[in-house]
């Protein structure tokens, strides 16, 4: 069984590496930061935006959709542009925490 698993992992790794680029753990960490970190950041930033924009509710409903995609884009680009994968995770986490704090503060006010 162990042999089989080992063989499968080796097979997949080779299949992936065949196409050229280095499939390092760092690259996968960046991908995860881009998708899940990006989602968390987008969600919390949008919540903060919705609660803090000084506009009438109906205006917020139609203005707020202009931003989440761009926030997600920013997170995704930073996930790949950051010097290291660790740094990408760290920055996205800090930003998410700040946005969640703002959103919570506005919500509980």
């Amino acid at each position: 069984m162990q042999l089989f698993t080992g063989e499968t992992v080796r097979y997949i790794r080779e299949a992936l590496s065949a196409t050229g680029q280095p499939q390092s753990a760092a690259f996968i960490l960046r991908v995860l930061a881009a998708i899940f970190g990006g989602y968390a950041l987008t969600y919390s930033a949008l919540a903060a935006l919705v609660l803090l924009l000084p506009l009438a509710p109906i205006e917020v409903v139609f203005v707020s959709p202009l931003f989440p995609g761009l926030i997600h884009l920013g997170a995704l680009l930073w996930a790949f542009a950051a010097p290291t994968a660790w740094r990408a995770w760290q920055d996205i986490f800090v930003m998410t925490a700040v946005c969640s704090f703002c959103a919570l503060a506005a919500w509980l006010k």
Partner: protein, 503 residues
């Protein structure tokens, strides 16, 4: 860490993002762009796919009278009615009513007051739906939303790693290989792709992350009450006679302009609290906002007119209007269609470039590596030529399936997905080059054959439509044939130029 090294790492990770993000999401993006391009002509495709619906022109008042009569007969107790008056690009009178949370719809001929029997079909709407959520609900919509983000990221990273292509483009230094096709198409369509991706992205995120409605409104109907500045009336459950709708039309046209009414919506018909709302057409300005006038359904009194939109709401609907392209008539539609096709070609060239670049590298590698590469190539083929074939097969299914088949609309869609699946198997079975040319040839045959199968199975063949000036139907035939001929030439070109282009 000094500067040059940081820069090098940055460029390398941008290249990885462009290569891998471009490959995986390129598959989704090609499908989204192609179906979106077809959805530009959604009204024409639907009209073509329901050949039984051909009636002579009528006045709005005649249509409304006929619809009113039929709705009183069919659905006196319905929760709501919707009447779609004939317009330039959707010339058929349609009535829809909601009863017990179920929607029923019929097409009418206002001249004879008869219900028109049309074959069941999703028509062009299927392409629009696949374009928004890959026909798979919320999960599909998330994939589409992510694709739009990755598309913008691919543009940014593409510019970072190939800055020189802009200079090359304007110096007319156009390379005749896949790299050239990809970058040339990219530079050419950059403004269009930026606009269409961003506007699509905001529409998708509006549905995906409805945080503002959830946090600021207790129930969703409040949003529309705010947006239209009119609160819907609640059913009183006391019967009352609905005022004849054709009497209200002149009053509504005073508010919205002559011949401008597109929809008539009746809430609580036959109740004391009935309301009749006239909604203006949206195709004469960029912003997709329907001005409206609401009347009391019993007394016929004007309750509210909404023509001045909140600037923020208007701005959002302006961007939405840029995406759905209902404005500007056929000029804008064709421009969007052409730009969409070039964008598809750009994405396809990028996908092909991925495999072309690595073709020499895998040749000596292990068996597993070869399989991985092979799978990517097969998926490329399935996504590009396979999807084109499936779209053409969808139109063929509309003509070939028995007209009175039960669940016909679903059957057409099943044909679409089955043909796509066959193309996947075919792409894995045949050597890549043969798979490319063979699938392209099948697609070419299906597209060029469309006018013939149409002429054989219906009465709206080219010989009739051209003579009677029905260019909406003839346009579908002619465009399909033209695209088919284009693909036939592409097949030849691939066969001849395969060695020259494999750089």
């Amino acid at each position: 860490m000094n500067k040059p090294i940081t820069n090098k790492v940055f460029i390398r990770s941008m290249r990885e993002l462009h290569t891998w993000g471009g490959l995986v999401f390129g598959w989704l993006l090609f499908a989204i762009f192609l179906t979106g391009t077809l959805a530009i002509f959604e009204p024409e495709l639907t009209y073509w796919m329901k050949p039984e619906l051909r009636v002579s022109e009528t006045t709005p008042i005649q249509s409304l009278t006929a619809a009113d009569k039929k709705l009183r007969l069919f659905a006196p107790q319905a929760e709501s009615w919707l009447i779609r008056l004939p317009q330039d690009r959707s010339p058929i009178l349609e009535i829809v009513w909601q009863k017990d949370r179920k929607s029923h719809e019929r097409y009418l001929d206002p001249q004879t007051d008869k219900v028109l029997k049309a074959r069941q079909s999703e028509g062009g709407h299927f392409f629009a739906e696949f374009h928004t959520d890959l026909s798979s609900g919320k999960a599909g919509m998330w994939l589409v939303g992510l694709s739009s983000v990755v598309m913008l990221a691919a543009i940014v990273s593409g510019i970072v790693i190939h800055k020189q292509v802009f200079a090359d483009f304007f110096r007319l230094r156009w390379r005749r290989n896949w790299f050239g096709a990809h970058t040339l198409g990219g530079v050419l369509t950059l403004p269009f792709v930026l606009m269409i991706t961003y506007t699509g992205m905001i529409l998708t995120y509006y549905f995906l992350m409805p945080l503002a409605p959830q946090l600021l409104y207790k129930n969703p109907s409040g949003i529309w009450a705010d947006a239209f500045q009119f609160q819907d009336l609640i059913r009183a459950n006391t019967p009352a006679t609905l005022v004849p709708l054709e009497q209200l039309l002149p009053l509504a046209e005073e508010q919205l302009g002559k011949n401008n009414v597109m929809f008539v919506q009746v809430k609580n018909p036959g109740d004391r609290q009935a309301t009749v709302t006239f909604i203006r057409r949206i195709n004469d300005r960029i912003a997709a906002v329907g001005d409206r006038a609401t009347f009391d359904g019993v007394t016929g009194q004007l309750l509210s007119t909404h023509t001045n939109w909140n600037p923020y709401v208007y701005a959002f609907r302006f961007l939405a209007g840029l995406h759905v392209a209902k404005f500007g008539g056929y000029t804008i539609s064709w421009l969007y269609f052409a730009a969409g096709l070039v964008s598809c070609a750009m994405i396809a060239a990028g996908l092909i470039l991925f495999t072309v670049k690595r073709r020499s590298r895998y040749a000596g590698a292990s068996l597993a590596a070869e399989y991985g590469y092979r799978a990517i190539e097969a998926l490329n083929i399935t996504i590009v030529t396979g999807l084109i074939t499936a779209c053409a097969a969808y139109l063929w299914a509309n003509r070939l399936l028995p007209v009175s088949l039960k669940g016909r609309a679903e059957a057409e869609i099943t044909v679409f997905f089955c043909v796509w699946l066959c193309m996947l198997l075919h792409a894995f079975w045949r050597p890549p080059l043969q798979a490319w040319t063979e699938q392209l040839r099948i697609a070419a045959v299906l597209c060029t054959g469309l006018p013939f199968i149409n002429a054989l199975t219906t009465s709206i063949g080219l010989q009739n439509t051209v003579r009677s000036g029905d260019w909406m139907s003839a346009g579908v035939d002619l465009t399909a044939a033209l695209l088919g001929v284009g693909m036939a030439f592409a097949t030849k070109y691939i066969n001849k130029g395969v060695n020259r282009w494999s750089s």
